[in-house]
């Protein structure tokens, strides 16, 4: 590992935050780097690296966590069919949704649905967005890496939390 990169200019960070906010607001949409770079006023070549340095996670992986977070909320709090939830949260196929969902949370969508039923009432006075953010699935490793760990029988911390 080379030496730490120089600190980022706060003005740049503020513009990168705007790209993150836009993904938060519309995580079901497609967010290719060219679109995110434009929001941030950064070149395509620099965007992904700058975003990862700022937020500790590559932009695409951040988007996946937000989609899964939304899907988890919809599973727990609505009666929408799982197929509808998959398409509403930005996946092009039910298969990809289910696979990514399991890779990230360690559970199937239907298992999360049955676990989460009583949850909204318990949280009471906590603003909903903050509840959801607190439950945001971690994705510190790439999905492909999670698959490899699962194949080896290694549990990631997120999986342990989810199954407890």
């Amino acid at each position: 590992m080379s030496e730490a990169p120089p600190p980022q200019d706060p003005a740049l960070l503020r513009r990168l935050l705007r790209a993150k906010d836009r993904m938060d607001a519309a995580s079901h949409e497609e967010w290719p780097v060219v679109r995110l770079a434009e929001v941030s006023g950064v070149s395509e070549a620099h965007f992904a690296r700058s975003f990862k340095q700022a937020f500790g996670i590559p932009p695409h992986r951040y988007l996946l966590t937000r989609r899964i977070e939304r899907a988890m909320a919809l599973l727990r709090e609505t009666d929408l069919p799982i197929t509808d939830i998959a398409f509403d949260t930005g996946w092009a196929s039910l298969g990809t949704f289910g696979r990514t969902f399991r890779d990230i949370t360690g559970n199937s969508p239907s298992a999360v649905r049955s676990q989460g039923r009583q949850a909204p009432r318990e949280q009471g006075a906590v603003p909903v967005c903050i509840v959801n953010a607190a439950r945001r699935p971690g994705l510190t490793t790439a999905v492909s890496e999670k698959r490899r760990q699962a194949a080896n029988g290694t549990n990631t911390p997120e999986q342990q939390q989810e199954s407890s």
Binding site: L13, R14, L17
Partner: protein, 135 residues
């Protein structure tokens, strides 16, 4: 006297910009604006909440060394500071008014759990939730 929380502060990147935002766009009032050398104590107040002041403070000397100030400026710009919640009696009306004034909304008003909430940021990056009171 009444006991309780008097001032809670935010870090902002520019106090003039923050003052214009909180007063002109959010409708707050200036409570205290006092300069002392290079330091400026600036607080604003919600017009319906006279017992509470929101401080708008600039990271930097004499309170912080340059490295600490740089770290704080970065945290604010990344939206990493704690959540803030504003209660309004009509979220959609407040959204329409503030949006027209150029406030940067991160979430349009959404109906959920018997209320309506929206999200916005101040120019520095501090994130606010705006939630309609439940009557």
């Amino acid at each position: 006297m009444k006991q309780g929380i008097d001032v809670v502060g935010l870090y902002v990147r520019d106090q003039d910009e923050a003052l214009a935002f909180y007063v002109d766009k959010l409708g707050f009032r200036v409570h205290t604006d006092v300069g002392n050398g290079g330091y400026r104590w600036l607080t604003v107040q919600h017009p319906e909440q006279p017992s509470f002041q929101l401080g708008l403070f600039l990271p930097g000397p004499p309170v912080h060394d340059e490295a600490t100030a740089q770290a704080l400026r970065a945290l604010v710009a990344k939206g990493a500071m704690p959540p803030l919640v504003l209660t309004v009696d009509d979220c959609r009306a407040a959204y329409a008014r503030m949006h027209a004034l150029g406030v940067e909304f991160t979430q349009e008003p959404v109906d959920r759990y018997g209320t309506v909430d929206a999200g916005f940021r101040d120019p520095s990056g501090n994130g606010w939730k705006m939630i309609q009171g439940r009557g």
